[in-house]
């Protein structure tokens, strides 16, 4: 803690060759949050290069009018892959990577709450990336855009497997993000060091904590939509196919109900980074901590209800447009509050213009511009004119690159010393910075004007209209500057990793806990933690005569609930979001009946009987938990067996229902009732089945006598999940079976 530096002991000197080999191989099997964080960042960097090269090729095609460098279909494939890669394989992994590495350090934790779940969440990213890119070998990459609008994404219009791989890949990536988000929430709630109360959390941690809630609510919405799309494509369902009564607009609703929170999911890690870097390089605490923290919550809540502004041009009607316009304008308020906070932090500070700060200042200016053009898209008439033009392309690249990538660059320069023990070169960093600023603004500022001149987006080439040629050429030249900047970054990383200046524990004189340990931190993160009474524990140590005022009650006691229960409750919230979408989709089509079979085909009395079995199983499981609490093993096993039997009986009942429908020739592809019915009840049945598997595992464990006193929390957590599955069935039963009786 005294700031002296000991070079980390090289494993090569301590280990024999076999152990050394294992130590290196252990990167593949690691559950250490720091290594996983690095893996996230490297994966993100790799795909950043891939997506960047795709962008470069796209811009070369667009450099001159009437260009035939790329075939139209190749262009579409590349621009789909560019968007999907940058969003799901770059921005999300890099954000999660920084969170993975630094969030546990910032709260003084030893690791994430669930280290193995953490590794699982990470490995889904390369897996998803491979699935996505495998499409190239399986008949061609998807060519439908990252938004994959129906009905273009449906089989009649995209007959190769590209869209299927796209959908499966995103499904997998979504599961990975949700797993990591659950981990983040459980870590922050259950793994804080003594004294690190929720009100003392560093802003990076707080903002990403809020972000995790957005992830668990928004990603399941996408996954529900992807499941429906896959059912359409693989099982001949009809959800999004208009000529069978499906709704292409429904896809847009589902996609943007995910897609708008997704914008904030991507930008929140950037907000967190900027909220850490600007105070350190202004030598002042953040101005208005509570406002930055609370405005994050406001943005998170609002972001769920503003997706309609992506659909003004779809024809939702004037009423819906007006409401979404207002709510979209409102979201500018908490965002503006943040910008004011960051700016006010700099005012009167002793600014240090190191590379991280330079990137943050550029972030502020560019994010402000992104926000202004963003607000213009909340204004319906203006949106009508500019939505499908390059104006919008410029806008969202100002968010995605001007804000997010710039903040990530800041984070790389800020935290690389902590991760590697060595400083990045300031000189190369300034080259990267200026090339990036020049290249980025050259590429994207001009695109606003291109859009206002009427150049549509998503086109593979364009006619030689006045000014379009030189503007596009300028834009393409800018990309070359950005590519050079990326090369400088990679070069800097490679050189500095081996030959950079030794960093020491706290090279920037920062104040949060990650700087209280060695660089890189030891496996267990901290040998000893400083006392935590404020938001800047390291300031308090360095300035004992004028410490920060104590935040909240002067105590080092913190509540840390059971992590298993916290994790499972969080998981239940995300499952609830998934089922909510399936239920709403069912209702949507129920209200628009199609010819063919309908709810009348269903056997209500029999289903009620089987439902009673399922509801009874919640009761028996509860009895089993009580028996476990009283240490009565036989009774616990008996009730558990009964629970599993009742659950099994329910599944048999569902099977009978399905069998009868199949007998009368009703399957997923019959009509929309059948499609939505089988999807909803099928996913519920799948969850019952998985619950049964979990209970069987518990039965086995209990049989072996594994449940020592005080080890029952996992069993209770499984119980929560089982009860949740039953509650979902209450809603399914009411919607699918009872509601038609009221007609």
């Amino acid at each position: 803690m005294n700031g002296t530096t000991t070079a980390p002991a090289s494993p090569a000197t301590l280990l024999d060759p076999a152990e050394h080999w294992h130590h290196r191989l252990a990167w593949l099997s690691t559950v250490d949050h720091k290594r996983i964080g690095v893996l996230y960042l490297l994966t993100g960097l790799f795909f950043f290069v891939v997506g960047g090269l795709e962008a470069l090729v796209l811009r070369v095609q667009l450099a001159v009018p009437k260009n035939h460098f790329l075939q139209p279909d190749t262009f579409n494939q590349l621009f789909t892959m560019h968007g999907t890669t940058m969003i799901f394989l770059v921005v999300i992994p890099v954000g999660l990577g920084f969170v993975n590495y630094f969030l546990p350090l910032q709260i003084g934790a030893r690791d994430m709450a669930f280290p193995r779940l953490n590794a699982f969440g990470f490995w889904l990213i390369p897996f998803g990336g491979i699935l996505l890119h495998f499409s190239v070998l399986a008949g061609g990459a998807p060519a439908v855009g990252w938004f994959s609008y129906a009905p273009l994404s449906e089989t009649p219009y995209s007959s190769t497997l590209g869209v299927d791989y796209w959908a499966v890949a995103l499904f997998v990536l979504g599961i990975g993000s949700v797993a990591t988000a659950i981990n983040i929430i459980a870590t922050v709630i259950c793994r804080r060091a003594p004294g690190m109360t929720m009100r003392r959390l560093p802003l990076f941690t707080w903002i990403n904590f809020v972000n995790a809630f957005m992830i668990i609510l928004a990603l399941p919405v996408l996954n529900a939509g992807l499941a429906m799309l896959l059912i359409d494509r693989q099982l001949e369902g009809h959800f999004f196919l208009p000529f069978h009564g499906g709704s292409a607009v429904l896809w847009q609703h589902i996609f943007w109900a995910f897609g708008h929170p997704e914008v904030y999911i991507m930008v929140f890690p950037a907000f967190g980074i900027v909220s850490e870097v600007i105070p350190v390089f202004s030598r002042k605490p953040i101005f208005g901590y509570a406002f930055v923290a609370a405005s994050s919550v406001a943005i998170a809540v609002l972001s769920m209800g503003v997706w309609g502004h992506h659909m003004f041009t779809v024809g939702m009607g004037r009423a819906a447009n007006s409401f979404f316009a207002i709510s979209s304008l409102l979201i500018a308020i908490p965002t503006g509050v943040k910008v004011l906070n960051w700016t006010a932090t700099m005012i009167g500070g002793r600014l240090r213009f190191d590379v991280p700060m330079l990137f943050c200042i550029a972030f502020l200016i560019q994010f402000l511009l992104a926000g202004i053009t963003g607000i213009s898209h909340a204004v319906v008439p203006l949106d009508w004119q500019t939505k499908n033009s390059y104006f919008l392309v410029a806008h969202f690249h100002f968010v995605a690159v001007g804000a997010i990538v710039f903040a990530f660059f800041a984070a790389v320069y800020f935290w690389f010393p902590k991760m590697s023990g060595r400083m990045l070169s300031e000189r190369l960093g300034k080259w990267t910075f200026w090339l990036m600023v020049i290249g980025f603004n050259m590429t994207f500022i001009i695109q606003h004007f291109l859009g206002l001149l009427g150049m549509p987006r998503r086109v593979f080439t364009y006619p030689n209209l006045p000014h379009w040629g030189w503007m596009n050429m300028l834009s393409t030249v800018g990309v070359l500057f950005m590519a050079a900047a990326a090369l400088f970054l990679v070069w800097n990383l490679a050189v500095s990793f081996f030959r950079g200046k030794i960093a020491g524990d706290n090279p920037w004189n920062a104040w949060t806990l990650e700087w209280a340990t060695t660089s890189p931190p030891p496996h267990e993160n901290f040998h000893a933690l400083p006392p935590i009474r404020s938001r800047r524990p390291l300031w308090d140590i360095a300035n004992p005569d004028r410490p920060d005022p104590v935040v909240g009650e002067n105590t080092s006691e913190i509540e840390s609930p059971d992590k298993t229960k916290t994790g499972i409750l969080t998981f239940i919230v995300s499952e609830a979001a998934f089922f909510a979408i399936l239920l709403l989709a069912y209702l949507y089509f129920y209200a628009r009946p199609q010819p063919g079979p309908g709810p009348r085909e269903l056997d209500v009395p029999r289903t009620l009987v089987f439902s009673l079995c399922l509801f009874a199983s919640s009761f028996t499981l509860w009895r089993s938990e009580i028996a476990l609490g009283r240490q009565r093993r036989g009774s616990m096993l008996g009730w558990l067996v009964l629970t599993i039997t009742l659950g099994g009986v329910f599944l048999v009942g569902q099977g009978m229902e399905y069998w009868k429908l199949f007998q009368t020739g009703v399957d997923v592809s019959t009509n929309l009732f059948a499609t939505s019915f089988f999807t909803l009840t099928g996913f519920h049945g799948l969850h019952v089945f998985l619950g049964l598997v979990a209970l069987l595992i518990f039965l086995w464990l209990a049989w072996r006598g594994d449940f020592a006193p005080g080890r029952s929390s996992a069993f209770e957590a499984a119980g929560y999940y089982w009860h949740f599955v039953d509650i979902v069935w209450v809603f399914v039963l009411l919607t699918v079976y009872i509601l038609p009786l009221a007609r």
Binding site: A298, A319, A320, P549, E553, L584, A591
Partner: protein, 256 residues
Amino acid sequence: MTTYEFLTTTWRWSFLLLLFCALALVGYFLAFRRRGRLAYLGGALAVFLFALISPVSALADGYLFSAHMVQHILLVLIVPAFLLLSLPRSFSLPRPFTALTHPLIGWMAGVGAMWLWHVPALCNAATTSSAISVIQTTSLLLMGSAFWWQVLAPRDAQRLSPAAGIAYLFTACTACSVLGIILTFAPVSICPVYQQPVDRLGILSSIRGQWGLTSERDQQIGGLLMWVPMCLIYLTAILAQLARWHSGPHPEKSNA
């Protein structure tokens, strides 16, 4: 009837309502004397009267579903909130009511008030029968009060902790948003009375023509009102919880 005439002549001054408000005011004075917070009570009564005597009420009475929704939101969210805020800190619920202060009951009351009264049969009945309408109004006020008690009870100890309060409000917001989404996208009328209004005031042609409110668009606006502005009310309450949390105990400087 033109819009101007409509806005000026359809205030439904009801002696009973005014008497009720006057009695409420007198009762409040007798109970709390000067300990009460009169401004909040005034707010509650003003919003209450506005909801029930202004042209909004005339429109909600069989013409416009969206006007009904405005009334509904005012009665279930705004009036009870002001009422609870007007209570002095010393106020305690009489014994039999304390059972109603369980958070689950409060949540069910708040969300149930939204869902229950939009069951088509009940929504229709409340619009056509004045007796049921009175029951509806009363129940909305009571359920709204039960909901807000968890957040706005007079003493801090009676309220949920800020974190629990945020979860309480956010889930309620979600549950109501889902109903709003269903109303917005429903192709059938949720409350069929509003489809073919009986034109007692001669305003229907203005509504359909000049205001451009077809019955479909009307229901859409109603759904959107429940979806978007109502969530903003919950959001405001969430922000208030955060403010309360961050303004929590500040120890003396000397402790540091």
